[in-house]
């Protein structure tokens, strides 16, 4: 009850600032965390590895020495891919289509070493395992992909649909339905 009271109390003041966040337009940038406490730990958002897979995920850098920003879930649908990764994904796709599975796998693993956080790579690795009928490993790779795709709704939907396919093909229809429902959330 006290919570409800408090909520009402702050509603008027906070609504204006919060609407922008809730809409999640992508243009919103949270305020810089200004904290004097030097021994503060806060986890940051997605990587901004130089040159590779620069995501628009917001990393809020504090002005103080020993603190970093909390992760802010922002959409990452437009990942800037490194040309090397693009080339390798293309190679892998050609190799896969012509049945050279182990060459395709090698290409994807090369891509993974360059951009280990690119969910597309896990999608493709999972798909190869699916084509080989290795259902459990296919699903695990796709799940790893969903972990890398947090905030990227398009990729998440693709990955969950892939998981649904994998489960369907392995005969687990109930789990497949669940995965499809999960995909529809995005």
């Amino acid at each position: 009850m006290t919570n409800t009271f408090r909520n009402f109390f702050v509603l008027g003041i906070s609504t204006i600032t919060l609407v922008g966040c809730v809409n999640n337009t992508g243009s919103y940038r949270p305020p810089v965390v200004e904290r004097g406490d030097a021994s503060q730990v806060v986890q940051p958002a997605e990587p901004a590895a130089i040159g590779v897979d620069v995501s628009p995920g917001v990393v809020v850098q504090s002005s103080s020495d020993n603190s970093v920003a909390v992760p802010v879930a922002t959409p990452m649908t437009s990942r800037a891919k490194n040309p090397a990764v693009i080339a390798l994904l293309k190679n892998a796709s050609n190799q896969k289509n012509s049945g050279q599975m182990s060459a395709a796998e090698s290409s994807l693993e090369r891509a993974q070493r360059i951009a280990p956080r690119d969910p597309e790579i896990y999608y493709e690795l999972a798909d190869i395992r699916r084509l080989e009928g290795q259902w459990p490993q296919a699903e695990q790779l796709a799940l790893k992909g969903t972990n890398m795709a947090i905030g990227d709704v398009i990729m998440l939907r693709r990955l969950w649909l892939l998981i649904a396919d994998i489960r369907e093909q392995s005969g687990n229809h109930a789990a497949a339905r669940k995965a499809r429902q999960q995909a529809m959330q995005y």
Binding site: T2, N3, T4, R6, N7, F9, V10, I13, S14, L18, C21, V22, D37, S39, Q40, V41, V42, Q43, P44, A45, E46, P47, A48, A49, I50, G51, V59, Q61, N66, S67, V68, V70, P71, V72, A73, N82, P83, A84, I86, A87, L88, S102, A103, E105, S106, S107, E109, R113, I114, P116, L125, Q137, Q140, L141, L143, K144, N147, M148, I150, G151
Partner: protein
């Protein structure tokens, strides 16, 4: 020979008549014996002939497996230390020249390098030789273009050969074809060793006659007057002892070989068979390997002065060893050059120019082959699970590993430098200080480097794999993770009070804190961050040791830990490698990946035999792991490992845990950034006490490694089921940003504290999720 003797002996001191009949009898006997000898000789020849052909046409040599480091990828946008690239190219034997006109050459300038790559037939695809212009901007590759100026998105250098798996006789060789022999090599060999080679029938009568004279003069058998064919026979078919009998066998065999095979075929076999040096226990055979061994270059790139040196070595690889006897070697090389010029093979200018060149032999230390005994040990152990020894040492397998020589060099340097400085500070008690290290890429699970001891080139006790030591507090993340799975939050208050656990043998387990102080009620994340023993024991006993055992196994510890209470504080012994697999899972958000040192094994033709693919299995939810990652960042920001930031930039997020075993006998640190995970152990082989803890020893090595590696910052991704809330640090109550003593802490949704601190009532809270929850 023997057969004639009886006739001579029986001839002496007999009557004429008697001897006449005897003589004719003897003559007949002799005739018969000769005939028999001829038949036996003929059969012998045929037998020899079959032997010669069988061996020459079958698999001529046992080829050791070749083990390669990872090939260096080059692509625009890549963070690449220019000095490290230079080292890589030197390791591959590239020559730094003004104009890179041929494969294996580099033009090196301050902001760009033109690399004429050699190309390499990788199992997945061919990497053709290219002339690449690589431009740098600060520590990044800005662009790569080919000789036509087109942008190259990605290119691979050849992989560095890091070692082999040798047969018992320790013969090592790189096979070459005759057409790979560099210019002048054949001429030099023929001119200096066997000038009549193309005209004789396998043996040279003139040579034999000359040798006879020498032998008679010296009164013993010293010279063989061997042709190249005879030398090949000697090395290829016969034992190495110098006897007349062997010599006599050699002659018919050489003639037979010459009869059956062309001069070129024989020469090609010779090029690969000849013994040219000794590298420790490893015998260097053939010009292909000798070229790598002395010049670190492929044979087809050798120039006249180098070719002359190798040709000169044939006569006495040890006597003319260019590393130990450079003056003798130079004299011999110049003699070869002189002969070549006198015979009109080269001009006087060529000779003079070549004579002016230094020997150009690389230091043995600079060779990568044999430089990574600890890593190779790991590779061999994995290979032996799948291949019998005789396949490994004779079939010429090609093994592609993920060893990164750059990371390996940084790891070795970090370990040896830190040990030296600890020895300087602490003196005698750590005179024998040792260490072991494992470095991986946490996302791919590839083992990038392995250090087995202080002297990384010394092949001995591999501490990274075999030093099983109590892990101390390194075990704690598993305890806290198991607690979070049981519903604890990071702000749950844990009792840091004395605890006594009765054991089955009647004694009690009474853990102490390191500072001997009990800290009262402590939030869970802080208890881990400060590595409090008593609160950990309380927590672990509350959830049950079995849960911790289960968690360790899920994280990747393969040998089942004993479920004693002391496990909670790391009484269990593990090797750095075993610990690494658990921390690997923590760094990879709860997805376990087997640690891999081998990527691929192919046969001698490059056909894939086995592959060690990337595999994952989710063992802990991403949400729970996110919370532990937060706590492990607290360790490095404000906990027992905060000294990290006296050396690393504040912008670099890292997470990890210190560990110190009972009585301070082992100093541990395990931690990770985005693309590097490293476990370091320091201790004494005889298990003595150390004058420092995990943070005073192993952590320093780890920090030194990371300052060299400059890894990407660890960036946690916030899983959907996690929310960040402002809480009061002391009480763990919900609070607001503007309040004193508050911080943002991640919670599994639904486990947030229910009560609010006083301060938060006065001002509006800004918690987004709280607002959303209310709004629903």
């Amino acid at each position: 020979m023997k057969k004639k003797r009886p006739s001579k002996r029986s001839n002496r001191g007999r009557g004429a008549k008697k001897s006449k009949g005897l003589l004719s009898k003897l003559l007949i006997l002799l005739l018969k014996l000769s005939l028999l000898g001829l038949v036996i000789g003929g059969v012998g020849l045929i037998y020899l002939d079959v032997q010669i052909q069988q061996k020459f046409e079958g698999k001529r040599w046992a080829l050791p497996a070749k083990v390669y480091a990872r090939p260096l990828e080059l692509y625009p946008g890549q963070v690449l230390d220019r000095a490290a690239l230079k080292n890589e190219l030197k390791g591959l034997g590239y020559r730094f020249v003004n104009r890179a006109s041929q494969p294996g050459m580099v033009e090196w300038a301050s902001t760009r390098a033109r690399i004429h790559t050699r190309g390499f037939a990788f199992p997945d695809s061919d990497e053709p030789a290219k002339r690449l212009l690589v431009s740098f901007s600060s520590n990044q590759v800005a662009s790569i273009t080919d000789s036509q100026g087109r942008a190259v998105p990605l290119s691979r250098l050849e992989p560095i050969l890091i070692g082999g798996i040798y047969p018992k006789d320790n013969e090592d060789r790189d096979l070459i074809r005759l057409d790979q022999a560099p210019e002048y090599l054949i001429e030099a060999l023929v001119q200096i060793e066997d000038r009549d080679y193309y005209n004789h029938y396998g043996i040279s009568l003139r040579g034999i006659a000359r040798a006879m004279v020498v032998n008679v003069k010296s009164g013993r058998f010293v010279q063989g007057g061997s042709t190249l064919t005879q030398q090949l026979i000697k090395n290829f078919y016969l034992t190495s002892e110098r006897t007349l009998a062997r010599k006599l066998l050699e002659i018919p065999m050489a003639v037979l070989l010459d009869l059956h095979y062309s001069k070129d075929e024989i020469l090609e076999a010779y090029l690969n068979e000849v013994y040219l040096g000794q590298s420790g226990s490893r015998a260097v055979h053939g010009f292909g390997l000798a070229s790598q061994y002395f010049f670190a270059q492929p044979i087809d790139e050798l120039k006249l002065h180098q070719v002359a040196l190798l040709a000169g070595l044939v006569k006495g690889p040890s006597y003319y060893d260019p590393r130990r006897r450079p003056e003798r070697a130079k004299e011999r090389r110049d003699l070869v050059l002189k002969v070549l010029q006198e015979q009109g093979v080269i001009t006087l200018q060529q000779r003079v120019a070549a004579e002016k060149r230094p020997l150009g032999v690389v230091k043995q230390r600079s060779l990568h082959k044999g430089a990574y005994p600890a890593y190779l040990d790991l590779v061999k152990r994995q290979l032996r699970e799948e291949y019998p020894e005789e396949v490994l040492n004779s079939e010429g397998l090609r093994v592609f590993t993920s060893l990164d020589p750059m990371v390996q060099a940084n790891s070795e340097a970090a370990l040896s430098k830190t040990i030296a400085s600890l020895q300087k500070r602490h003196g005698k008690p750590v005179a024998e200080l040792q260490g072991g290290m494992v470095v991986t890429d946490p996302q791919t699970g590839e083992v990038l480097a392995l250090v087995g001891g202080k002297n990384a080139r010394y092949q001995g006790f591999n501490r990274a794999l075999d030093a099983r030591r109590p892990v101390g507090s390194l075990v704690k993340p598993a305890v806290y993770l198991a607690a979070i799975e049981q519903g604890y939050s990071l702000t749950s208050l844990i009792d840091d009070e004395p605890i006594s656990v009765p054991l089955s043998d009647g004694s009690s387990w009474v853990p102490q804190n390191f500072d001997r102080i009990s800290h009262g009620k402590v939030p869970l994340y802080l208890a881990l961050s400060k590595s409090y023993n008593q609160s950990t024991a309380h927590l672990g006993m509350a959830i049950g040791v079995g849960k911790v055992v289960d968690m360790l196994e899920r994280l990747g510890v393969e040998r089942e830990p004993k479920p004693y209470p002391s496990l909670l504080l790391g009484a269990e012994s593990m090797s750095p490698f075993e610990i690494a697999s658990a921390y690997q899972t923590i760094a990879a958000n709860g997805f376990r990946t087997p640690m891999r040192a081998i990527r691929l094994v192919t046969d001698v033709e490059g056909v894939e035999l086995s592959r060690y693919p990337f595999e994952v299995s989710q063992v802990v939810s991403a949400e729970n792991m996110h919370l532990i990652q937060y706590a492990l960042q607290s360790v490095t920001r404000e906990g027992t490992a905060r000294s990290i930031y006296s050396r690393l930039p504040a912008s670099l997020n890292v997470a990890g845990k210190t560990g110190t075993s009972n009585d301070q006998r082992d100093s541990w640190f395990a931690g990770f950034a985005a693309n590097r995970m490293a476990v370091v152990w320091l201790g004494l082989d005889e298990n003595g006490k150390l004058p420092f803890t995990g943070s005073g020893g192993a952590l320093r090595v780890w920090t030194e490694l990371m300052t060299r590696e400059k890894p990407d910052s660890f960036m946690a991704v916030q899983p959907e089921g996690v929310e960040y809330l402002w809480v009061e640090e002391q009480t763990g109550l919900l609070s607001a940003e503007h309040c004193e003593g508050v911080r943002q802490i991640p919670f599994i949704k639904g486990t947030a504290p229910e009560n609010y601190a006083e301060c938060s009532e006065k001002q509006p809270s800004k918690s987004l999720d709280w607002f959303k929850r209310w709004f629903r």
